[in-house]
Symmetry: C2
Subunit: 474 residues, 2 copies
């Protein structure tokens, strides 16, 4: 089976496919790089179990991703901000057969293989599986606190790319700027769109607002994917207008505040607010700039042919403007979680997002509350249940409640309410949490209390904690 | 299940979706029209067998097509140029449960229902099937002379629309001019793209070069689908340059002659030569204007993610530049023929086109000979075997060989070589053929001969007849 990059290289061999710093690769040069890597990797491949990648936003990482598509094994994209303990869980849960990691990350796993070592090996003929449908796996947590591997099939990525093109348009000369992590669906999906559309990616190691600001002015990209924090940082440096070739800023990771929307409108920044998740292979709804000021707070309408349904607690469809759980259906929606009951996240074929929201009379989606009280901090998802479970593991802690506290820089940061058996120092808790959780998940604020608010059935009512912590800051 | 038009109407209710003459319908107005028709049709619907449509290029026909998608029964698009006998064959073969026909066409079938009568009926609630995958059926002939119903699934149409957008780009303000018949894949696919992309169709009853010429100058469309004959007729009236919004002329139905390509190049007409068939749900390859003069005679490269393979008589893959049978693979390729062995047209999952051609070093496709000596006359396919079989049915005819004779207006016209038992007048044969064949299939030229050229195994060698008839005209 021919990989997407190889097909693209056959169609548009001499077209630039990747820019990074001063370097540029055409699609055929990319295919050659990826083929070399596929040869290096092949001797390690024993079966069609996932291969984990632990990488940063480097051109080499792009080639590794395409190399694994040539072999056609699922790639498990590890979030490089997690702790070794968190990686360990995902590797075990996914039964990954191999972990290719950059030297800077130390992975304690039998299947671990440093990329430098891999590159030194002789390699062998490219092993190619024919029938693998799963392209990528990314772990997310949820209500239970146990991260689960979301599977994205090739069909999911294809449908996501098509739906986005139908929505924002497709110009064969587009360049998509990627300063979001490749291990998140936001970054990974840009690589897929690049080969599906035949357009170049401009890859950034990290989000440097000054550099990206200049590139936007110089017309070095026509589309960029950002989260709210990034947009705010760009607005903070904004001086000159962006280049006329720049046509689309896709904004994910939580709704933009009104002042931000208005400022973008006034400065002619074409912001497309969106709503999506790992389970939908990237944005599922998009709000076009034309509707941005008319529908403030909305995440727009689904990408074609996706559909949204809002249901109440009894599973009945809600009326217009009535708040309920958001259910999604469409070809970009995951088939399920790796090594789990495939029907679990669905209700009659509709993905239960756990998010809460409503559709207005014109069919625009308004997300009222993120799933499982999800905290979005600088574009990273933090699941309260996961953090609570770690904190409650400390001997001194009886119970914990974690919520998002508003933050000018990160949008939100985790805040912990604790009931403790013995008095304990914040620093000790932070140290304890940091060993077990990625830094962005570690609470930045601690409050000690006698009891946590619970409802009649004993369930933690995080909403009350959230009000308390955010009222403080007003 | 929500139909594509209904989804589009929910996403872009106020956007124009259809222009015809001085009339315009937004997507939501279209959905209302189609829903009304779906109500009218529903009482006639008993099962998920195909419903045949025998219509002309009218707005109402567009609404009928979408109405049948709401009910989600396959639509059999009948070519309105065929004879009642030919329609009869397709209706029987497809087991159509209902034939909706315009008053002007007289169909002798139990399931026939005039559209006027249907419109007068009371109707009922819209019946909606959930699981039907086949969207449309169109009959084509082939080597055997027996027309077969090519099935296009919803997935096929979706992939075709996506692949085309990735190739020629997608501008949300596009307007696609449709002067090709809705009952051909070229026209039907424009309607699908309209609702998938969210762009308008400008529908023409027929190809009137003067009118279309003016509309191209006035910027009334940005894309148009044409066959070679239409392009020639447009060039014949060409005076002023077309409007700058006009960006793409998709040319199907046989390769364009060099002088035409050069003229388009000189006059800045953005011609995209293509190769495709009913079995690929529209164009499968496209040659961009940038390559047009560099690759004269080529049909370009596949739309992503389609693939081409050329094989020799033993089924082995041909070398670069080596002529063999063209095989195709991709998500826009049909699953097979209606009520036939589904594996028949495939070899290891590759569609055997019967066409002959080669791939050059850069992967550009050159079609050397159309399948089964296919004659393309004014964009309509004429299969020699079908015409020969009819002619040989006349008592005076012993055997017949039919080939394409070059024609300035139509590209090709059918020419018949006959071995007869008794002398017979051409007019008698023409009359006989016209009763059984669509007018465009009836030979325009007759030659009487003592014997037809056959190879060692007794197979008719049409190539020799073709050379003979075309040498005459030089």
């Amino acid at each position: 089976m021919t990989s997407w990059l190889e097909k693209r290289a056959a169609l548009s061999p001499d077209k630039p496919g990747l820019y990074a710093g001063k370097d540029v690769w055409t699609f055929s040069e990319m295919a050659i790089e990826a083929q070399k890597l596929a040869e290096k990797i092949s001797p390690y491949i024993k079966n069609q179990k996932p291969v984990a990648l632990l990488i940063t936003n480097q051109p080499q990482s792009v080639f590794f991703i395409h190399a694994l598509q040539m072999i056609r094994v699922p790639v498990l994209m590890l979030n490089n901000r997690l702790t070794p303990e968190e990686w360990g869980y995902q590797l075990q849960d996914s039964q990954a057969q191999l972990v290719l990691h950059e030297e800077q990350f130390s992975v304690e796993a039998e299947a671990a293989q440093s990329i430098d070592e891999c590159l030194k090996s002789n390699g062998g003929p490219i092993k190619r599986f024919e029938d693998e449908e799963i392209c990528s796996v990314m772990y997310t947590s949820g209500t239970t606190g146990n991260p689960k591997g979301v599977m994205q099939s090739y069909d999911n990525h294809y449908a996501s790319a098509a739906g986005s093109a139908f929505n924002i348009g497709h110009n064969p000369d587009d360049i998509w700027m990627c300063a979001v992590p490749l291990f998140h669906i936001s970054g990974y999906s840009i690589l897929m769109r690049s080969v599906i559309y035949g357009i170049a990616v401009r890859l950034y190691e990290k989000f440097d607002e000054q550099l990206i600001h200049e590139d936007l002015i110089d017309g070095k990209g026509s589309i960029i994917s950002v989260v709210t924090t990034m947009l705010q940082r760009l607005l903070d440096v904004k001086g000159e207008p962006y280049h006329p070739l720049f046509r689309c800023m896709i904004l994910g990771g939580g709704p933009a505040p009104l002042h931000m929307v208005e400022r973008c409108h006034n400065e002619d920044i074409p912001v497309f607010q969106s709503y999506g998740m790992t389970e939908t292979s990237s944005q599922f709804t998009t709000l076009s700039p034309g509707d941005a000021t008319r529908k403030v707070g909305s995440s727009g309408k689904p990408l074609f042919p996706g559909e949204i349904r809002i249901i109440d607690a009894d599973g009945n469809q809600c009326e217009t403007d009535e708040i309920g759980e958001i259910l999604l259906k469409g070809p970009s929606v995951t088939k399920g979680y790796l090594n789990r009951d495939q029907s679990a996240p669905f209700s009659n074929g509709w993905l239960k997002t756990g998010d809460v929201g409503y559709l207005d009379q014109e069919g625009f989606l308004f997300v009222a509350d993120r799933r499982s009280d999800l905290i979005i901090s600088g574009g990273e998802n933090v699941y309260p249940a996961e953090v609570e479970s770690v904190l409650a593991g400390h001997p001194a802690v009886i119970e914990a409640g974690v919520v998002g506290k508003k933050d000018d820089r990160w949008g939100e940061v985790p805040a912990a309410f604790l009931v403790v058996a013995d008095q304990i120092d914040e620093e000790v808790l932070i140290h304890y949490a940091k060993e077990r959780l990625a830094a962005y998940k570690v609470p930045k604020v601690f409050r000690f209390t006698d009891a946590l608010p619970r409802n009649a059935s004993g369930k933690l009512v995080r909403r009350m904690l959230k009000e308390e912590i955010n009222d403080e800051s007003v």
